[in-house]
């Protein structure tokens, strides 16, 4: 992965997050949550900085980031698409939905489209099992999705949408 240079502002943000948790090693997961929330993802450079601030090894931070599926080390698409792969959705055809999205966007799970618009992920149960199968685009939940609807859903986001507010690295 190419090295990125963190801007002064990003460094300040990360340091501030660490200090709100009193630079306490035990708060690592909370720090990571907060950092990802503000920055969108957790590149190696941010992890190094956090390790430094909390006075722990980078290996430990990296170990935690890679252990939990909620943390991302690569930037997410402008519109992250998540297909629910909970059992209820699975038995109601989530696999076909996933297949169709992959086919339309021409990406695999965990990847983003080259223009950075969409990224695709699976998640475990949104808890809207009554609406199975469920697809989420950003925060919006689409229920009872059929493979034929995918084209329409993606088209909703293809153009003219506002970029979600997020701090640039």
């Amino acid at each position: 992965m190419p090295k990125i240079k963190l801007s002064q502002r990003t460094i300040e943000i990360v340091k501030e997050i660490c200090s709100t948790f009193e630079n306490n090693e035990g708060e690592l997961i909370n720090v990571l949550h907060e950092a990802q929330h503000k920055l969108g993802y957790l590149p190696a450079e941010v992890q190094e900085l956090i390790a430094n601030e909390l006075n722990m090894s980078v290996a430990k931070v990296y170990g935690v980031v890679t252990f939990y599926s909620f943390f991302n080390m690569i930037p997410q698409g402008e519109f992250p698409i998540s297909v629910c792969m909970g059992t209820a959705c699975y038995v109601r055809g989530a696999e076909q939905i996933l297949h169709e999205i992959k086919r339309q966007l021409n990406i695999e799970v965990g990847q983003s489209t080259p223009d950075g618009k969409f990224s695709l992920n699976c998640l475990r149960c949104v808890g809207a099992c009554g609406l199975a199968p469920v697809v989420m685009v950003g925060e919006k939940v689409y229920g009872r999705v059929a493979p034929q609807q995918i084209r329409k859903i993606i088209a909703e986001y293809q153009e003219g949408c506002v970029r979600p507010e997020r701090h640039e690295m």
Binding site: E25, G26, E27, L28, I29, N30, L32, H33, G63, V64, F67, Y68, S69, F70, F71, M85, G86, T87, A88, C89, Y90, V91, R92, G93, Q96, H99, E100, R103, L123, R124, C125, V126, G127, A128, C129, G130, L131, A132, V134, V141, G143, A146, P147, Q148, I150, R151
Partner: protein, 597 residues
């Protein structure tokens, strides 16, 4: 709630919210205002009603009218017809599937008739963001009773007498767990609420936290009093933003009312709660892994003993209880152990919440007495199988459980019966499958989950499950042989016996139970290289029967890849080199002309 003549309750659970229930509430509010009824009618957003299949739901009190599948634009009709003119809105009423007659009162619906709601007592009744509504329904009375009238040991004895067992899946007696922590000596002890509901297809805990967060807070304080802990922690999934927000609101309100903090009810007892966020790791439902995760580490389990009750969070004695377990505690204290233990079977007392999902008519959240049979749950409450298909299996216990067949339908549900049937209670996910589901694929699906979620610490789980998955993958691709089945079974046993924690010890269960109950299906895959349910893509082929096809072009129009060709009113044809086997044509065809082979 006394000042208003009528209340409109709008479901604010995740499912209904996804179907615009917030818009419904806003529209109702606006309409109520338009008709100058704001002093008489209160619009409340509640927690989950449970009947997710028919959501969004709007309930009118006091007459208990239950409107289903409400759309934002229906708000006008509800207010004009029901509130102003006093006439029920017929087309929004639930219809009995047997005779198509409208049923207005939820008490008379099959879905609710057999339910007994203890943990879910307030879900769908109160506004979870208003502590006064919880207090109006005996909220915090149990905590007051414990602090002012009972010693910690007396409370523990009461819980023990109630026979309550942990609802997170393990089924360990709650009272005993509390007693062990209370007897451990330390300068600091902790109460932990395990709200890391990772079981795919289960949403019990989330619904309780969203619909009745105060019951969990109250129970944690009671536990703190019993065990001598002044600090409580809720370990909650970051994927549950609504539950987190409601819990935070509830904690703030409880602090303002002096129900959390210093000197609660004027007694020396101090207790406060903070939140810890999970980050998407199923293994963190295991208590030692959960504790490590709360300490900011990788959520890897460690060997027990020592149990958390003796050495847990930061090495201090810690009681870890599941959300549903806690939500029932205030009822046990208020109504007495006798009330709770009068419900259920000999060894499993009280009620259990299940998330009913899959190929069933009434998807939703239900709470039934222990000892209710699977048949009652699936056919009476659940309304049977979707689309009139045949029941095939019900999966309980999530990735750690097993699939139960027809022959277990009349088994009363309790911890021990489910284990002897080859499954387990688990946290309460119940997924129903019909004749179209391939059991080998289901086993593979669960294994893929465990594989993904294995923390990698112990070899049997990390490597063994990978090998199991490869074998299943081979079988579903038609490349397996009969020896693979023997090998599967042997490896399953080894993993069960040698894994470190509950995740690994139970991960082979979905395979073992399907091998036991659906051996024929495995044989068909390895011997004849066929998938009887027509689900394994490598083994199926879709064709159109010329005699049955009317050329209606429905399949042609719906095929996502353009694999179907044909003229209007003449038989169509599927090009198998293009077909992605999505099955849309099969589902759409009204003339049964598409067949799977």
């Amino acid at each position: 709630m006394a000042d208003y003549k009528m209340h409109l309750l709008v479901c604010g659970g995740t499912g209904c919210k996804a179907s615009e229930s917030e818009q419904i509430r806003d529209n109702l509010l606006a309409e109520v205002e338009n008709h100058d009824l704001t002093d008489e009618v209160q619009v409340v957003m509640t927690g989950c009603f449970g009947f997710c299949e028919k959501g969004p739901i709007v309930k009118v009190l006091p007459d208990n009218t239950f409107y289903v599948q409400v759309k934002p634009e229906d708000a006008v009709t509800i207010v004009e017809e029901h509130l102003v003119k006093g006439r029920q809105v017929n087309h929004l009423l639930y219809r009995d599937p047997e005779n198509d007659k409208p049923v207005s009162d939820s008490k008379h619906m099959d879905f609710y008739k057999k339910q007994v709601r203890i943990a879910l007592r307030n879900c769908g009744f109160i506004n979870p963001e208003n502590i006064d509504e919880y207090i109006a329904r005996d909220g915090y009375a149990a905590l007051a009773k414990c602090l002012s009238e009972q010693t910690p040991q007396e409370v523990i004895d009461e819980i023990k007498r109630s026979g309550q067992r942990g609802r997170g899946g393990g089924g360990f007696p709650t009272g005993l767990k509390w007693e062990i922590t209370s007897k451990s000596v330390a300068d600091q002890k902790y109460v932990v609420c395990n709200a890391d509901e990772g079981d795919p297809g289960a949403f019990m805990d989330r619904s309780i936290l969203e619909g009745d967060p105060h019951s969990v807070i109250e129970a944690m304080a009671i536990c703190g009093y019993c065990t001598g802990s002044s600090k409580g922690l809720v370990y909650i999934r970051a994927e549950y933003p609504l539950a987190i927000q409601r819990l935070k609101t509830a904690i703030t309100q409880a602090r303002e009312y002096g129900l959390l903090g210093e000197k609660i009810f004027g007694t020396p007892f101090c207790f406060d709660i903070t939140l810890r966020y999970g980050a998407g790791a199923f293994v963190c439902g295991e208590e030692t892994a959960l504790i490590h995760s709360m300490e900011g580490l990788r959520g890897e389990p460690t060997f027990k003993p020592p149990f958390p009750s003796e050495s847990g969070y930061l090495g201090k004695p810690t009681t870890v209880n599941n959300v549903e377990t806690l939500a029932s505690i205030p009822v046990i204290i208020n109504k007495g152990a006798g009330f709770f233990s009068s419900i259920g079977t000999e060894k499993s007392k009280g009620t259990k919440v299940f998330a009913l999902a899959g190929k069933i008519n009434n998807v939703g959240l239900i709470e039934v007495p222990m000892g209710t049979t699977l048949r009652e749950v699936i056919f009476d409450i659940g309304g049977g199988i979707k689309g009139g298909k045949k029941f095939k299996a019900v999966q309980t216990g999530g990735p750690s459980g097993g699939c139960l067949t027809n022959s277990f339908l009349d088994t009363p549900i309790d911890y021990d019966n489910l284990i002897s049937a080859g499954s387990m209670m688990g946290s309460g996910g119940m997924i129903v499958m019909d004749e179209d589901d391939c059991m080998v694929s289901i086993a593979k699906f669960y294994l893929e989950f465990t594989l993904d979620e294995s923390c990698g610490k112990c070899t049997p789980c990390r490597i063994g499950n990978k090998r199991l998955f490869e074998m299943l993958d081979k079988i579903t691709k038609g490349l397996g042989n009969e020896e693979d089945l023997t090998r599967l079974r042997t490896l399953c046993k080894v993993i069960k016996d040698t894994s470190l924690c509950g995740l690994g010890q139970t991960s082979p269960n979905p395979i073992l139970s399907t091998l036991d109950n659906f051996f024929d299906e495995y044989l068909a895959h390895v011997r004849d290289h066929k998938c009887p349910a027509g689900q394994c893509k490598s083994l199926v082929k879709y064709t159109i029967n010329n005699d049955k096809c009317t050329g209606c072009t429905l399949c042609f129009r719906n095929c996502p890849v353009g694999a179907i060709t044909g003229e209007k009113r003449s038989p169509h044809y599927i090009d198998n080199s293009i077909c992605i086997k999505c099955g849309v044509c099969y589902d759409k065809c009204k003339f049964d002309a598409v067949s799977v082979s």
